[in-house]
Symmetry: C2
Amino acid sequence: MNKARIALLAAACLFATTALAGNSAKEEANKKLVTEFYEKVLNQKDVAAIDRYVGPYKQHNPMAPDGAEGLKGYIGYLKENSPQFKAEIKKVLADGDFVILHVHAVPAPGARGLAIVDIFKVANGKLVEHWDVIQEIPEKAANNNGMF
Amino acid sequence: MNKARIALLAAACLFATTALAGNSAKEEANKKLVTEFYEKVLNQKDVAAIDRYVGPYKQHNPMAPDGAEGLKGYIGYLKENSPQFKAEIKKVLADGDFVILHVHAVPAPGARGLAIVDIFKVANGKLVEHWDVIQEIPEKAANNNGMF
């Protein structure tokens, strides 16, 4: 092995470890997929876009029927009954196949709204499973830090 | 550079990339710290252990006063009023300084209980910031998947 080859091996090693030091390329791609889905589907309420982002979909939100069809029904309901519903993503975190969103959702401008954490599982470039926890933001709090 | 040295360099490179392919060493350490804290403080209600795990502590749970003292007060209250409170960690995820726990908490055996997501920020080996979202698990659900 000559010096040029050794330098190349060292550079490849450096690149691989640097790329993986924060999020891996897969985690970055998953974050991008989930945040795009959230903007397009939840905020723009584009029911037709759901099949682009969602595969066979296991739903754990107890209010929603299972599968992509259940999600389509929910977004259709939102569009009809809560057209001003807006979700602002406060944090995007990823670990392997999981993407976690910390979200402030308001049903209409000026409302205190809801604190939400969504967890999505991604497989083969599609969202395949979803869990969430939802809490109304209370009027008064025991500290001055806000919920986000 | 002889063959032995080249093999050593290649092995070191392989080790570094493998170690970082999932969680980094820091993320693994953060997961361990947070899950130990959760077991010791939330489940065993060991108020005296809090200072071992918690640094200057910014609290975003709207029910709890700010700081480590607020957390001590909350755990003391739990010990007194809800001694059978038990939190089962369902998922542990990490991204950089953040650790995310998906938790099923029950105030007493047999209760349906609460779905919780906790997000902790870790700095210098201590928990320094906390957000959570808490939802009562409903009696009936629109799907059969459960909340976890």
